[in-house]
Symmetry: C2
Subunit: 409 residues, 2 copies
């Protein structure tokens, strides 16, 4: 008997008809001889409805009470799904985060899971019950209700799969897997049968938002086999696993991109040790995340310093940088909000040279000017003018032959 | 410092504006130097909304899961009220039934409270916090969520008041107290400043449905001073307390009535010991509650036997009685659904003779024929044709001078 953890998001349980559909899938997995634990989110729209009431009371509602409020969303879903399963002659028992004792720290609205007491779950599974657990929520040592933040239901599912040593953690969503790139831009984009945790992290953080990053990190840490599937369509989805299992992996997995980029440059700063910290310290103090950083040293002892940030933070970051510029006696601050980032992702590039030059060549062939470059072990990112986004993604998708059928599957 | 438990029903917390109103009342009680524990119901309409979803899944939803579902209603309210209190600079902490450990048996949807662990509540009160508790819900020994059944929030409030030895348990509702009778029938009906638990039980069960009967029983058992007040209007409401405290009590407190009555008569049953049990046993087995019972012994060794039931049970009861009639060889079964019950209630009648004859005289004067009579220590009930309901209630209200100002208050 395999043990499977299935997670269904808000859209998958959006109304009673969809909950009935989920129940049929769960029952099918159980009837096939598996032990099944199901993690569910709030019905789509419910969390927003609750949040709206809280916001009508206060712009910054009491965080402890906000978690008490929001956690009711998943509690409604676990009850409805368990009833629906019982109605389909599939015995089921629901548990809130507190009941299954998903112990977290006390950081309301963004709590981290510390441990799970899985004894009750195991007992129920032994008795042939399907166990339905509320995602997104837990309880701290003081017995206070906590939530894990938006998308936290994925993390709940992975944490349960790790605690129960499940054979697979299946994340059901409204897409049928992870693609080589966004099919809205490249119609030939292909579903990936397998990606590694590391690749998924790069693909997720760069725009292919299928899974919450934290849940992938969690899965990677505890070696939980993750599978992304569609609730509404048949198919094998995409398996996210460790590199040794993903042997049939292609050289390049996919092309991610991000439209929400902006860059800031400070020109002719007197170059001395610690200058990077003097420039970026105030930005960090303003709680603004910096992504790519480039520093060019000039001949006159001055330097140019460029970094990218989220477009939403641009105005604030620019204000801070102008103040820094004044203090440091720099010549000028330049900014650009019309940029995007395109990234090539693949574990294969570790062992293959020439990937970068092939990438730059493909972009050059289309006349696309590269403004910034950043590389990691399994990723090469470039910053280009936003008008080149679609052209660049298509050029790279073709250059690396991503539309071709994966021979291994 | 007095300790007060306040309970607000669904109408009182029906929307955010009303919750703000409740918060102001709670804050005022605390600012006056009291320790305040607040028990709230689900926002009006919410329980029905949840129930509707459950009923769409199954005519008889799984009872354990139904309680998980319904208990979210109060959880939403405790969070919103606590936020609202914080927003009004009144520190507050919310607790679900499980969190404050309202231990119940495992009878889902109609659980009974076994105990309350009030340590956290006391701790919070000492720190000057208002404690907001979800009504209607608890947790069984296995950690399963239970509900106390509709109206159970009153019981939660009284149980908390008993456990905390509170000075008063205030039930806020949409009426401003207990009246001598229904003001829609007798415009001169007067609010009672004080009634005893016993009187309240008779008044409540007979139609003046201000408080859940079980909560009054509970209050009586643990000598909790109960006060019924309006959330929307000022006033002292009605204090419900023990007889020794209600010294200024009038002879007669009020006139209750019930429209939902029906009666059944079985004629000429052979009279022998055990005949009552033979007739009523099958009715009880059908889970039908019998109220008044009359047996007249005839001269021929036969007897006539009459009893009243809830009008909803009439058809079922009649079917059962016809079967019994056949088995016992009775002459006939007669029924009447067009009857009502009018009751005179007052602890004073214990020590005063002549109340019954005064009552019958007042009804006779209006030409109202009495079909059945039943008496208890503090109540005289008569069954009459339903067309006489309003006339009868008005005649009795006037005959006993209930419209007059209570001198004691």
């Amino acid at each position: 008997m395999a043990l499977i953890v299935q997670k269904y998001g808000g859209t998958s349980v959006g109304d009673l008809e969809r909950i009935a559909n989920v129940a049929r899938r769960v029952k099918a997995a159980r009837d096939a001889g598996n032990g099944v634990v199901v993690v569910v989110s709030a019905m789509s729209g419910e969390t927003d409805r609750l949040l709206q009431m809280a916001k009508a009371i206060s712009a910054a509602p009491n965080p402890r009470e906000l978690d008490v409020l929001l956690s009711t969303g998943e509690q409604v879903t676990i009850a409805l799904l368990s009833m629906m399963l019982a109605q389909q002659d599939c015995p089921a028992r629901s548990y809130t985060g507190a009941q299954v004792h998903i112990l977290t720290d006390s950081a309301f609205s963004k709590a981290r899971i510390l441990g799970i007491d899985h004894r009750r779950v195991c007992q129920d599974l032994k008795q042939g019950q399907v166990v339905v657990v509320a995602g997104f929520q837990g309880v701290d040592e003081g017995g206070n209700i906590t939530t894990l933040g938006r998308g936290g239901s994925d993390t709940t599912a992975v944490a349960l799969a790790a605690a129960l040593d499940a054979d697979e953690c299946q994340i059901y969503t409204d897409v049928d897997g992870v693609y080589t790139t966004d099919p809205r831009i490249v119609p030939e984009a292909r579903r990936l049968p397998v990606v590694t945790y590391e690749e998924m992290l790069e693909l997720a953080s760069l725009g292919a938002k299928v899974l919450q990053i934290r849940s992938v990190e969690f899965a990677s840490k505890y070696r939980v086999r993750l599978r992304v599937l569609s609730t509404f369509a048949p198919g094998e989805g995409t398996l996210i696993t460790s590199e040794d299992e993903a042997v049939e992996q292609a050289l390049i997995s996919g092309i991610a991109f991000s439209r929400d980029e902006a860059k800031l440059t400070i020109l002719d700063v007197p170059d001395h040790p610690g200058i990077a910290h003097q420039i970026l310290g105030p930005i960090a103090d303003g709680n603004i995340e910096v992504d790519m950083i480039i520093q060019n040293v000039g001949e006159d002892g001055n330097t140019d310093f460029t970094f990218t940030i989220h477009r939403n933070d641009y105005d604030r970051a620019e204000g801070i940088l102008r103040e820094t510029s004044r203090q440091l006696g720099a010549r000028e601050v330049l900014g650009d909000k019309r940029i995007v980032k395109i990234s090539l992702v693949g574990v294969g590039m570790r062992s293959h040279a020439g990937i970068a030059s092939k990438m730059f060549g493909a972009l050059a062939k289309e006349g696309i000017n590269i403004q910034m470059i950043s590389t990691s072990e399994i990723k090469i990112s470039v910053v280009v003018d936003e008008k080149y986004l679609e052209l660049g993604v298509r050029a790279l998708h073709e250059a690396f032959g991503l539309e071709q059928k994966d021979e291994g599957h």
